[in-house]
């Protein structure tokens, strides 16, 4: 039985980041985009916690908690915007919302 090392954590984090990024870039539904953003943030959190553990310090874990709070706030604001947008545009698809172009 191999012990779980920092490299494993980093690999998981990279995978999550990749999945999240691809989700943000490719999925049309904004709800899913928001979820993908959560994946990216959690990939960062894993990184922070992993390095914190490896260094034997708690600063990274504290910072991770900040990021979780930030993610919550971001989700709340993002979903609020999404609902307002839906009320106006009757859609949640990101490619149909392209008002800010030249």
């Amino acid at each position: 039985m191999h012990p779980i090392t920092t490299v494993h954590y980093l690999a998981l984090s990279a995978a999550l980041l990749l999945i999240g990024t691809i989700g943000v870039l490719t999925r049309r539904n904004i709800v899913i985009i928001l979820m993908s953003i959560e994946l990216i943030l959690n990939a960062v959190n894993i990184n922070l916690v992993a390095f914190s553990h490896a260094a034997g310090q708690v600063y990274g874990q504290i910072f991770a908690i900040f990021v979780i709070v930030d993610a919550v706030a971001e989700a709340a604001v993002g979903l609020g915007i999404l609902i307002a947008l839906f009320r106006n545009k009757e859609t949640v698809l990101a490619d149909e919302i392209d008002l800010l172009k030249w």
Partner: protein, 740 residues
Amino acid sequence: MNFLDLIWLIPLFPLFGAALMLVLGKRLDPQPASEVAIAPGVEPIYDEHHHEHHHDHSHSHGHAHGNDHDHGHDHDHDHGHAHSPLKTLINFICPGMVLLSFIFSAGAVWQLAQRAERVYQVVQFTWIAGLPFHMANGHLATFQADWGFLLDPLSSVMILVVTGIGFLIHVYSVGYMAHDNGYYRFFGYLNLFVFFMLMLVLANNYALLFVGWEGVGLCSYLLIGFYFHKKSAGDAGKKAFVVNRVGDAGFVLGMLLMLSVLGTVKFTEVRSALLHFKPETAGFGVLSIMAVLLFFGATGKSAQFPLYVWLPDAMEGPTPVSALIHAATMVTAGVYMVARSAALFQLTPSASTVVAVVGAFTAILAASIALVQNDIKRVLAYSTVSQLGYMFLALGVGAYWVAIFHLFTHAFFKALLFLDSGSVIHAMSGEQDMRRMGGLKDKIPITHWTMFIGSVAIAGIPGLAGFFSKDEILWQAYSSPQGSQILWFVGLATAGLTAFYMWRLMNLTFYGKSRVAPEVAAHIHESPAPMTIPLILLAVGSVFGGWLGTPKVWTLFGDSFRGFERWLAPAFASAAAEAVKEGEHSASTEWILMGLSVAVAIIGIVIARYFYHHKPEIPDSIEKAVKPLHALLYNKWYVDEIYDFLFVNGLCKGGGLLLGAFDRNVVDGGVNGAGWLTRFSASFSMWWDTWIVDGTVRFTAFFVKMLSYPACILQSGRVQTYAFFVVAGVLVMFGYYVVR
């Protein structure tokens, strides 16, 4: 006191009076501003009211313009200023100034007579400093005009006439104008006139003479239009002014020609310059043209054909003005000017002939018109024109001293006649039509007797002033080398007409049955002393004035009674005059001619007396018999109508047409052209604005837009695309690190 050195004061006295009146008069005059001068014959509205109240002690009510000077007590209410201290002041200042001038003139003339050479010239200051110019012959000359005075026998006669007669007329005006509004204005103008007239006769060059010439014209205009609220008076003033300007154009041209040919306008220099010229015996040379141009100026001022038309209309002015300006002084300015230019006219027989013919023609033309006029002043006006014609006849035949002699005697009796007519009009409450007079002899005896003397004098009865001068003119017209029997005959006929129309006037006015309207007849009265005393003095002058120049054949009185001729002789002496010695005629011829002219005068008087006194129906039947002739004379030969047709309407209409064409083509054309030009430049400006200015701006914008186009494509509005760029960028940067 050396009066000759004080000669500059002579014109200054009246100028001072005029300045005082015209600058301060209005401020001092207590009369309300609303009151304007009231003309004779115009009933002031406010008089009615007061007359009701003063009915008991004033027997006169139809009067106009306050003609009843001696009934002043009821006027004190109407015209509070009638006896104001100011008026008393004016009464003393204005005639007083002229009297001072007269005293200084008399003194100066007296001292001049003591001198060996009777010429006194003084330059007060340079007026127009030397302007260099090229004369006609190519020589360089300088035009200089001084404010200088020349007192010689000729101008001394003139200043004595102007100030002497002028003073008497001023005194008369005190009575005549007593109740007129605009008193100070009247006397101011009158004094100003005397000033300009003195400048005219005292000037030592033509340019300064012209200043006086225009100045008296101005005063004449102002005084003819004195009753300016009357349209006819205003029109007459304008007519006088315009007609005089026509003559003045001739004067100015003559003066410029003189400058160009002789190089000077100073009398003495002109005279010496003329010594180099030979008489232009054949045809018209440059000197003749000069002389005729100057004479044309004289026809305007002295009311000769064809420019006499303004003088009869000038009678719209107050009567003293008619006497002073339009009979005694101003209208003789032309005679004076031609006499002053004697040296020139002596060299130009053809121009002199023009003068003589025009004079004779004017004399008989005006006399014929005077035969049938009914306005007392108009008869006298035409008589003046006629007498001025006599003077020009004398000038034209080379008898310059006789012209001045007639000017001198005429000033007395014509001023007298005018002032008498003023006195009659005054008595008649402004009535001027002789058909509504008659039988005034006993009601206004002083006026009657003085006018009788004046009429005898002008008719040419021996012993009175008019006889001597007129007879001398006729004799000169006959005997002078430049005279002719035709000129003499015209003059003789005119003398007969003169006697006739004067006695027609006397009979219609003073004798026979009264045809006066009853309301006017009630208050006929003799004029007050300020008016009658000048009349008497002028009558004395009219009797004795002529004795200064008795006919040559009156040997009984010797040479001493030919003082006038000897006094003036130096002023007209010249080589040219010497050359044409008076043609020899026997004394018997002169006696016969004298007898003829007296006979003609008496016949004229007798016929007039018979026609208008004994058989008043004869004139009417003659009038009916030769209706067209009467109409022709009554309408003044239709000269006014012809002028109206030719000049006034002709020029107005033709000028209107020309003006219209000018307006349409030149003025409108200019405006339209300017509009077109503006539009053209505006369209160009618009083009420039659109294509160059805007074009630059738009092109800049377009250029930027084009440049920005690739960037625009990137801004799709899709967030995911942007995110993709971000990721791609990150990957590129990582890739860069990795590859490096």
